[in-house]
């Protein structure tokens, strides 16, 4: 009847044929449990010894790295001009990469800062044929206001369709006039985006029935904090953009800055365009200038 060797000691032996050797000698030569343990530990010891040699090799790699670093410093000291050019090239490379990633991140990777952003989509249109000629403000895939109205009125696909002009630069009147970048948006813009203002209220669709009749503005959180010093009584005050007095009716929530990569400072109803933008863009059927969501 073969004896059973110490089970825990058996766990120390990884190789099955080596364990077989130990069990055979343990049984045929009447070796003690202590002998079995000693042999098992000798296997662990020699395996550890091999690992230590490996570690020593890795330490050598580290010391090699230190030697390389010192050599690099000496080379830089010897020819600083060449080193400066190399460092500049590397810095430029890193900078360009960072800029490209930042752009990619804001355009493609980062979701829109709106609730349930998967439900918000951009709308594009494509023209067939060669006789398409438009007053392009951006590109052909942008929409004119009459086009937007027709799409909006016949929409049976989306829960809402909003339009905005994303590249609206305006001058804020004050002791020191200031350039701001905002958006002209249809009055259902905030409802379609699903965004509730942090303070005050947003536009309502019914507020924009007639051009020029609703002189209001919603400020972004960034503009409210940076330009108006986070004035807690800002809602209800009047600011002047492009010489048009507008009543601040709301402050957007902190994370929301529009659907474009560049953050918007404010949103003004699109129907204020004839006054604030000084043109008749709303009537032009042949002017591409609006983004649809």
């Amino acid at each position: 009847m073969p004896r059973k060797p110490p089970r825990l000691a058996c766990f120390l032996v990884r190789d099955e044929s080596v364990l077989g050797d130990l069990i055979e000698e343990y049984n045929t030569c009447g070796r003690s449990d202590a002998w079995f343990w000693r042999q098992a530990w000798s296997l662990v010891w020699f395996a550890g010894h091999t690992e230590k040699t490996e570690r020593k090799r890795r330490v050598n790699l580290l010391s090699d790295l230190w030697i390389d670093l010192r050599y690099a410093v000496r080379t830089v000291e010897k020819s600083p001009g060449f080193a400066a050019v190399v460092i500049l090239a590397i810095a430029l490379g890193i900078g360009v990469n960072t800029a490209i990633f930042t752009l990619l991140n804001s355009l493609a990777l980062r979701p829109l800062p709106v609730p349930d952003s998967r439900r918000v989509v951009g709308i594009y249109q494509t023209f067939q044929g060669n006789n398409v000629s438009r007053n392009i403000n951006g590109e052909a895939s942008l929409f004119s206001y009459p086009e937007y109205e027709r799409y909006r009125d016949q929409n049976r696909v989306f829960s809402g369709l909003a339009a905005y002009y994303p590249f609206f630069g305006a001058t804020l009147a004050g002791e020191t006039p200031r350039d701001m970048r905002g958006e002209l948006a249809t009055c259902n813009y905030f409802a379609v985006m699903g965004v509730q203002p942090a303070m005050g209220q947003a536009f309502n669709a019914s507020d924009c029935n007639a051009p020029g009749l609703f002189p209001v503005v919603v400020l972004s959180d960034g503009a409210w904090r940076n330009v108006f010093a986070g004035d807690p009584s800002m809602v209800g005050k009047t600011i002047t953009l492009n010489r048009v007095p507008l009543t601040v009716i709301g402050i957007a929530p902190p994370r929301f800055h529009g659907a474009q990569p560049a953050a918007a400072d404010f949103w003004v109803p699109l129907t204020m365009d004839p006054l604030i933008h000084a043109g008749d863009s709303l009537k032009q059927d042949n002017l591409s200038w609006l983004v649809l969501v």
Partner: protein, 108 residues
């Protein structure tokens, strides 16, 4: 190609045991043969470390035999000295002989 021209002491002892044991060279008899002849204990860890080193150098090959009941159903691993190992053994012996020439082991 061997990593070293000459063998270490335990490498020589293990290779000589393999030659002596022939087809029956596996862990248990190798260790027992070495302990009996050299009158010194050799742990199984040291033995297998040496065998693996010799195998890495191409001086030794191993094959797995059939499992047996007295080993708890585990197979034996048989080792064999290869021509490169025998050559290294002779080279080491020759080097030692040359160094011993003219010296009396009893008078040093």
């Amino acid at each position: 190609m061997p990593a070293r021209a000459y063998l270490g002491e335990l490498e020589q002892i293990v290779l000589l045991a393999l030659i002596r044991l022939g087809d029956n060279a596996y862990g248990v008899p190798i260790r027992q043969d070495i302990e009996k002849r050299t009158k010194r204990s050799l742990s199984i860890g040291a033995l297998y470390r040496t065998l693996e080193r010799l195998e890495d150098k191409g001086f030794v090959t191993s094959r797995t035999g059939d499992p047996t009941p007295e080993r708890g159903g585990r197979a034996k691993r048989f080792f064999r000295a290869e021509p490169a190992g025998l050559q290294a053994l002779r080279r080491t012996r020759d080097a030692l002989d040359v160094m011993w020439e003219g010296l009396d082991p009893k008078r040093i």
